[in-house]
Amino acid sequence: MSTAEHNEVKVQVKNLTKKFGSLHVLDNISFDIKKGEFMCVVGPTGCGKTTFLNMLTKIYEPTGGELRIDGELADPKKHNLACVFQEPSSFPWLTVEENLKFGLKIKKLPEKEIQERVETIIRIMGLEKFRKSYPGQLSVSSEQRVIIGRAFAMQPDLLLMDEPYGQMDIKLRFYLEDEVLRLWREFGTTVVFITHNIEEAVYLSERCLILTNKPAAIKEIVENKLPYPRDIAGEDFITLRKHITEQIKWW
């Protein structure tokens, strides 16, 4: 991706505020996400990260502020949004192939295009032999790959990932983190990745957005210019991780 393209603003978040009755969850959050950028969002547990994501996916309407994609107010019917949720979210009654087609069919893409995209994802994710399997017949990691693949198949304007590896062991997490980076590079997707794992955030992100405790506001947006693939034991990596940890501390 060219530098000029990379500097183009894809998503604008302006004064985003959310209140559930008297509970003030998000407070006046504003930032931009560049086209094709990988942004991680970290913050203390219960600070409102998932609420923040649900606003971006338009599952919740904000109390105040707005979200724009390519200058237009975000609308799932108009824009291409995709989300990988914290809990397993494959459709158990659909085969792997049908799961990958799900969003594309809702978007009413031509059958040929759907087939091409699904084949690409199946090839990249190594899902050939599971094509006709149901999610219940797959291991947890294979199922998660289907869910991630389904999100990338949408070729979304904005891909949101909410602690997708929260329940996984370290080996699986490393493997899927590399997988997500590979897909991101391949498709040039704009990604917002929510995590409570600071190491994961440093490993993946180009920029890291740190939220404060509730009501969540932006504490700092950290630029992460470490070259990929990143070495988690490298000096710069550890320094950055320590800095984010210091910023996140609420105790």
């Binding site: 996916t57 338009k58 599952i59 609308d75 799932p76 019917k77 108009k78 824009h79 291409n80 949004l81 995709a82 989300c83 949720f85 809990e87 397993p88 979210s89 459709f91 158990p92 009654w93 659909l94 799900f102 969003g103 809702i106 978007k107 032999k129 599971f130 399997s133 149901y134 219940g136 017949q137 797959l138 291991s139 990691s141 294979s142 949408m154 949101l160």
Partner: protein, 271 residues
């Protein structure tokens, strides 16, 4: 990465025998039951004045294929008459009850509109509709099917309602973020999610339909398995009563088997 799919139960229940062995075990179960039944009567532990031997029932079954006594119709005619009533009532209950339950479970307005009526109708025993049914619909097929309908309708509604209510929120959210309309989410996510519960409801409905058959055929029927049982009572013929019962049981099992095939096709992903 793939979980191995073997004959062995994944939870380790059972020894993981060949399917043929399990089929044989089911047949052996039935044969043992019949053998014990026969043995109790042959040895005189139970008097044959009150209960017939399986062998006698088998001979009666063959005879009843052409013999009209004592209820006035042969077994195939009685079976066909009962089938008509049960299937009409059951099919009506499924085609109205399942969509109603699904719509009530998904759309709050429909839920609020139908729930009060449904909650009042629900506790009314199906057989208490008999007197009114005679007044409204007479004593023909429609009237009998109506009684069966009431018995089968309630579980169809309740289960599909509960099934769609249990749709995982995350799956709804996935469809929502894809830009799906509420109706698209209803039929692409809600309905498939509700299917296992709906089938469980249809299974209960099936049982209710057959168990209400005798009551429905009290409505001045002139043929049918329920009617055959009633006639058996009037003529003090336990063998006829038992034959009627066995036939209803066998038909019920057959229907459950057929339903199982449909269920496997639609909810095969649960295996």
């Amino acid at each position: 990465m793939e979980r191995k799919i073997r004959n062995k139960d994944p939870l380790g229940r059972g020894l993981g025998c060949h399917p043929y062995v399990y089929t044989m075990l089911s047949i052996a179960g039935i044969l043992t039951f019949l053998f014990v039944w026969q043995l109790l009567l042959v040895t005189g532990v139970v008097s044959d004045r009150y209960i017939s031997k399986p062998t006698e029932l088998f001979l009666l079954l063959i005879r009843k294929f052409s013999d009209k006594s004592p209820d006035g119709s042969t077994l195939p005619i009685a079976t066909l008459a009962s089938l008509k009533v049960a299937v009409t009532g059951l099919v009506l209950a499924i085609v109205t009850g399942v969509p109603l339950g699904l719509i009530m479970g998904w759309y709050k307005g429909a839920d609020r509109f139908f729930s009060p009526i449904f909650e009042v109708l629900r506790p009314i025993p199906p057989i208490s509709w008999i007197p009114l049914t005679i007044v409204w619909l007479g004593i023909g097929l429609r009237a009998k099917a109506f009684i069966i309908f009431f018995a089968a309708f309630i579980p169809c509604v309740i289960n599909s309602y509960a099934g769609i209510k249990m749709t995982q929120k995350v799956l709804i959210n996935v469809a929502k973020t894809c830009g799906a309309s509420n109706f698209t989410i209803f039929y692409k996510v809600g309905i498939p999610s509700a299917m296992p519960m709906t089938f469980a409801g249809i299974r209960v409905a099936l049982g209710n339909a057959w168990s209400t058959l005798v009551a429905a055929e009290m409505l001045a029927a002139n043929a049918g398995l329920g009617y055959m049982i009633l006639m058996g009572r009037s003529f003090a013929r336990p063998d006829i009563i038992m034959l009627g019962m066995v036939c209803i049981g066998a038909l019920g099992a057959l229907f459950t088997g057929i339903l199982g095939i449909f269920e496997k096709r639609i909810t095969g992903w649960r295996r």
